[in-house]
């Protein structure tokens, strides 16, 4: 038998039928629904007179459209109520589990899926959400789909997929203090570009990844789609197994032993060949932030805003200039020192307990700069409760942050929680697109500690000197 990659092994175990041209009909083991993409797929299914093939494998929670305000109700904003009701009604009708507001399991779908043991190593996972790649951190083959494919998987539990090419990114060295998985991800996107992963599945490997705790791996895999790939994954290891054990929907008893025996085989064989193999030394990576309107517009915090004159071609020069104009920045100026109006700590990239702990350590005993609005939106109800049990909410509140309720909130602004036009936000989310956080909003992506330091300073700062 020829050598296989981690990706090959999971893929091959899910082929229901081979199609032509390198395509396969893949079984989908878990299907996550949220309040934005779930209802249209469910409604389409019903319009076609079809039933959910296996409701046990489908899980729903509202995250995109729900308010993050304290004492929220489903109608706390003008957008969410109807979609929440639709998700609840359709889930009920089909016998799909839904984790509702205020209950364990509610939260950003890519935070709660792993947290509840719904996502496991070796599974195929889909969601109508591009950041489904986050779940690859457990060694799952997880990818985002649109409404049509979500509907198809609800009806049949399979999807036709083309086997992607494979890229391995090995991250050598060690991470310096205050340098996080988010900084590594931004550094990779800055170096390779936002389309480097198009048509690829990416396996992250090497000593830095092996040393990462699960939260950090989830952050790293989360930004895979910002590298252009819809799959990102990390081989499951003892860190993964220890993390999954005992979670609500994780296997137990005799099944647990069979599971960990199976997961032990989920590694890339030593002589497996990748279509592209990259090695990155993390030792020199410092805190990163974005300056423009694509995640590939990423630079070290001690760097200067690039000059379009130095762009590689006309198209890039125009796009850099457009980004500078939108962001209200000047070429050649240090990015550190840029004044900020908003700080958002949250999103499926960085809203887990370890993210909030790290940010709280920066904030503790200090105060948010005057004129800065700073929010913390925990990724899930469990994260919220755990953080409050540790007193993290008190640390943030004492510093002048708003401590809010779990959801996607200001990462995607679907619930009306927007950064105002022209305002500048340091955000721990994953997208700095034009208008992403609201029309005219200016986003700088950063790690939780860099965002926390910016809230205190009122400007972008190097957290290592803050």
């Amino acid at each position: 038998m020829s050598a296989s990659t981690l990706f090959d092994k999971i893929w091959d175990a899910h082929v229901v039928r081979e199609l032509d041209d390198g395509w396969s009909l893949l079984h989908i083991d878990r299907h996550l629904l949220h309040d934005l993409s779930g209802p249209p797929a469910m409604v389409e299914l019903r319009k076609r007179g079809l039933e959910v093939h296996d409701p046990d494998l489908v899980f729903a929670t509202p995250d995109h459209l729900v308010s993050s305000a304290a004492n929220r109700t489903i109608d706390s904003n003008e957008f969410g109520g109807a979609m929440w009701s639709a998700l609840r009604d359709e889930a009920e009708r089909s016998g799909i589990r839904m984790f509702d507001l205020g209950t364990v399991g509610q939260g950003i779908v890519h935070v709660t899926g792993p947290e509840e043991g719904i996502v496991l190593p070796g599974l195929t996972v889909i969601c109508g959400d591009s950041h489904t790649c986050t779940n690859g951190a457990l060694g799952a083959l997880a990818f985002g789909v649109g409404t049509s494919q979500s509907t198809q998987a609800l009806a049949t539990q399979v999807l036709a997929q083309a086997r992607p090419r494979q890229l391995r990114i090995s991250i050598d060295g060690t991470l310096a203090a205050h340098v996080t998985a988010k900084d590594v991800a931004l550094a990779l996107i800055g170096r390779f570009g936002a389309s480097a992963g198009a048509g690829f599945a990416i396996e992250y490997a090497g000593p830095v990844v092996e040393a990462m705790e699960m939260d950090a791996r989830l952050t790293l895999c989360n930004l895979t789609v910002e590298l252009g790939a819809k799959f990102g994954l990390v081989a499951p290891d003892s860190t993964t197994v220890a993390w999954v054990r005992g979670r609500r929907f994780a296997p137990a008893g005799a099944e647990w032993q069979r599971a960990i025996d199976a997961w032990a085989k989920l590694v890339t064989d030593p002589d497996a060949v990748f279509d592209r193999d990259e090695v990155v030394d993390a030792t020199t990576i410092g805190p990163f932030v974005t300056w423009g309107t694509s995640p590939e517009h990423a630079i070290a915090i001690d760097d200067v805003v690039p000059d379009p004159a130095g762009a590689s071609d006309t198209r890039q020069r125009e796009s850099w200039q457009a980004a500078l104009d939108y962001m209200g920045l000047r070429a050649g100026e240090p990015i550190a020192g840029t004044p900020v109006d908003w700080v958002f700590i949250g999103s499926c990239a960085n809203s887990r307990l370890s993210d909030l702990r790290a940010a709280a350590r920066v904030v503790e005993g200090r105060a948010v700069a005057s004129g800065v609005s700073a929010w913390v939106v925990p990724g899930s109800e469990v994260v919220r409760r755990d953080a409050e049990a540790e007193g993290l909410d008190a640390v943030f509140r004492a510093a002048g942050f708003e401590w809010r309720l779990p959801g996607c909130s200001m990462c995607v602004a679907a619930n009306g929680e927007r950064v105002p036009p022209g305002a500048r936000c340091v955000s721990t989310s994953n997208r700095n697109f034009v208008g992403r956080q609201g029309p005219g909003a200016r986003t700088h992506l950063a790690s939780p500690v860099t965002a926390a330091a910016a809230a205190i300073a009122g400007r972008l700062v190097d957290v290592r000197c803050a």
Binding site: A13, L50, F79, Q157, W256, S294, Q316
Partner: protein, 212 residues
């Protein structure tokens, strides 16, 4: 359900060559929540299509007379990157566009295009630039899916597309209909897999398992 088959398309090809044109820019998230899929066209590309006062942005190609109603878009690298939102495809199709030619696409966007009969064609970046130059006057471009060729002003560019996807587009087939034909095979596979990977299956009905 079947879609309109895709054979050939002829018409103006509008250039939208900025790299990394993401689906947030193609359709704003609040529009997709508040608007029927069939009514999204006025909001397609709104962040770059209109000026702050709501008037047409003269820098946006589809606002030029020669490109109004163009059935073909010429995109830059990584066209449709970002969010998986399928309304991005619906909004573009609402403008009457049937085909996008670009050096590369966001993978999920590209899959969504196929689900809706919008043809995404990948050409080398230099070929895309050449095509854009030829099409800049508004001269008609023809896309022939059967022949896998793009022609304009006596120039020809060949493209390739997976056999399954080509047939699905040519015949207007729907992936869901195709997959439903596999249901027996799916059930057989699932039965075997429950023996092989019992740990991968969740077998309790909602409500029967204790919840916190």
């Amino acid at each position: 359900m079947s879609r309109e088959p895709f054979r050939t398309v002829t018409g103006a090809a509008a250039p939208l060559l900025r790299p990394n044109l993401d689906t947030d820019v193609i359709i704003r998230i609040d529009r997709m929540v508040s608007t029927r899929p069939a009514a999204l066209a006025p909001f397609a590309f709104e962040a770059i299509r209109y000026c702050a006062d709501g008037s047409d942005n003269p820098d946006f190609a589809l606002n030029h007379d020669r490109f109004r109603g163009a059935p073909i878009l010429i995109g830059g690298p990584n066209f449709g990157c970002g969010s998986s939102r399928e309304p991005a495809v619906w909004a573009i199709m609402g403008l009457g566009i049937r085909c996008i030619v670009a050096p590369s696409f966001g993978d999920i966007f590209r899959a969504n295009c196929h689900q809706n009969g919008l043809l995404p064609i990948v050409l080398e970046e230099t070929d895309v630039a050449d095509l854009a130059a030829v099409a800049a006057s508004g001269a008609p471009v023809t896309v022939d899916l059967q022949a896998q060729r793009v022609t304009a002003s006596e120039r020809v560019w060949c493209f390739t597309i997976g056999a399954n996807q080509r047939v699905a587009l040519l015949d207007g087939l729907d992936d869901l209909d195709l997959a439903l034909r596999d249901l027996d095979g799916i059930r057989t596979w699932e039965h075997a897999d429950r023996e092989l990977r019992p740990w991968a299956w969740i077998t309790t009905r909602p409500g029967k398992r204790s919840t916190a």
